[in-house]
């Protein structure tokens, strides 16, 4: 890295050495085909009170550029008041907001992946805001349970 870059980087956060835990990345596999899994996801996310702010079609961009690829979308989700509140209070969180969930086809199955929202709590200074991320975490688990249960 160029020296100048090093100088202007503002590393605003206290640094904690972190070890990877199984719960830092959440994944679920379903035997539903991609369109059904996508529908289950969208329905469940809304039932949990979150808005879907955008669905980014990664595969379309790739295929358009000549890279053959299976279905792949990124879904951005959040509750407006919470996102506004958090970014206002912690600009450092902006790069991660709203949180996103990847959904992609793997042969006949569909796999969903997201970062455990609790990892964002590392960037807050007011511990009383931690409950927001704890709720997000339990909601992701619950949404992923819905997706798994849709198999049965």
């Amino acid at each position: 890295m160029k020296a100048i870059t090093r100088n202007i980087l503002v590393l605003v956060l206290s640094s904690v050495a972190t070890v990877l835990h199984a719960g830092d990345m959440l994944m679920v596999r379903t035997q539903q085909k991609f369109p059904e899994a996508m529908l289950t996801l969208q329905t469940s996310v809304k039932e949990h009170g979150y808005a879907i702010t955008r669905v980014q079609r990664i595969d379309i961009g790739l295929t358009g550029m000549g890279y053959e690829t299976d279905k792949y979308r990124v879904v951005f989700v959040g509750k407006p008041e919470e996102i506004q509140y958090l970014i206002g209070k912690y600009p450092v969180l902006a790069a991660y907001m709203p949180p996103q969930i990847s959904i992609f086809a793997e042969e006949g199955d569909t796999v969903l992946v997201t970062a455990n929202p609790i990892i964002y709590a590392e960037m807050i200074t007011d511990e009383s805001d931690r409950v927001i991320f704890q709720r997000w975490e339990s909601d992701v688990y619950s949404v992923f349970d819905d997706i798994r249960e849709a198999d049965e």
């Binding site: 956060l13 600009p91 990847s102 349970d145």
Partner: protein, 347 residues
């Protein structure tokens, strides 16, 4: 008699509901990688009798607890001991045979000779230094009919779980139904195999060091963030130029609150630029399809009390979430791209 039977059943079911359910735990924690029925996916197959019948419960428990640093398989320190036992029991349901007892006997071979044999008989699949095949498991953006990728042997998680006897037995008998064939059949003698076991064991120190290195550099900040000397509009214009200069395609520029609030009501002081380099993206996705989690590339610009701040995620830091060595070079490259963008736009 009937009363006793009833009581017994009542006792059983009460017990069952109190104990953790291995199948549910497996579905929640393991099936995304190893498949619902243990046939493999991002992870190697687990439902193979040839595998299950040759490893002890201790091996399975340690593997689950320790994970495989840098090889995607996470360390499950979140599971309680009772849950761990339940998961292992669920894995055992895929074989009729009882688990072999753990045997901690030490095997003393000649590691030097083992190294020579390894290069001849094992390297083509397990890699020059035992670091495993490229990719993992059976499907990682690959067709399912391709052979299982050979696991890393020079891995702290693996070496801490495997006993010398487990290594010897695996090499001697192989694993039916996988590319790992019996080396006795391939012509190696028992002494040869002991030598190889000692060679694999000698990788332990280096493996531990690389595990420490993985954990050690977790001290990076989650974001790359700089203050801009320009106003919001100028900063955004500079970034657009910098994105093009770096050979990335600008997908769109929008307010961060797009889709969150009614159109027109967004906070105009919070802007996100989305961009992509499809060639790079394609390569990264083939290495690990989960990286889409942080796509497309994005820079956010925020004005707060007249102060303009530009930020991106820190790919080096996030890379750790994936526990995948092969992604490191991509994360480093993205880190350079983001840093340069921020630098160019705020100079």
């Amino acid at each position: 008699m009937r009363i006793i039977a009833c009581l017994f059943i009542a006792f059983l079911s009460a017990n069952a509901s109190a104990a953790p359910h291995g199948d549910e735990l497996y579905a929640r924690h393991c099936s995304s990688c190893h498949g619902n029925d243990g046939k493999g996916g991002v992870g190697v197959p687990l439902a193979l009798p040839s595998f299950l019948d040759s490893v002890s419960d201790e091996y399975l428990q340690k593997t689950i607890r320790q994970g495989r640093p840098g090889r995607i398989m996470p360390a499950f320190d979140v599971l309680s001991d009772a849950q761990l036992t339940a998961v292992v029991k669920h894995l055992r349901s895929w074989s009729d045979k009882p688990a072999p007892k753990e045997d901690n006997s030490v095997i003393k071979g000649n590691a030097k000779k083992g190294k020579v044999l390894f290069a001849k008989y094992c390297m083509q699949c397990h890699g020059e230094d035992g670091s495993g095949g490229k990719g993992t498991g059976v499907t990682f953006s690959r067709k399912r009919d391709l052979p299982i990728i050979a696991p890393a042997l020079n891995n702290a998680g693996f070496l801490a779980s495997a006993t010398d006897v487990m290594l010897r037995d695996t090499i001697t008998y192989g694993r039916e139904g996988t590319p790992m064939t019996s080396m006795l059949v391939a012509g190696l003698t028992e002494t040869d195999i002991d030598d190889i076991v000692s060679y694999i064991r000698s990788m332990e120190e280096a493996a531990e060091r690389s595990k420490q290195a993985l954990n050690g550099n977790g001290s990076d900040s989650p974001v790359i963030m700089v203050d801009s000397p320009y106003d919001l509009d100028e900063t955004v214009a500079n970034l657009k130029q910098a994105i093009t200069d770096q050979n990335f395609t600008l997908i769109r520029t929008e307010y961060l609150e797009h889709g969150l609030v009614e159109e027109g009501k967004e906070n105009k002081k919070q802007v996100a630029l989305h961009f992509c380099n499809f060639g790079f993206l394609f390569k990264a996705l083939s290495v690990d399809p989960r990286v889409g989690m942080f796509l497309p590339c994005r820079v956010t610009v925020i004005e707060n009390d007249g102060k303009v701040q530009v930020s991106t995620i820190n790919p080096k830091r996030l890379g750790k979430l994936f526990n995948n060595h092969e992604l490191d070079e991509y994360c480093d490259e993205m880190y350079e791209v983001y840093s340069t963008l921020l630098e160019d736009a705020t100079l």
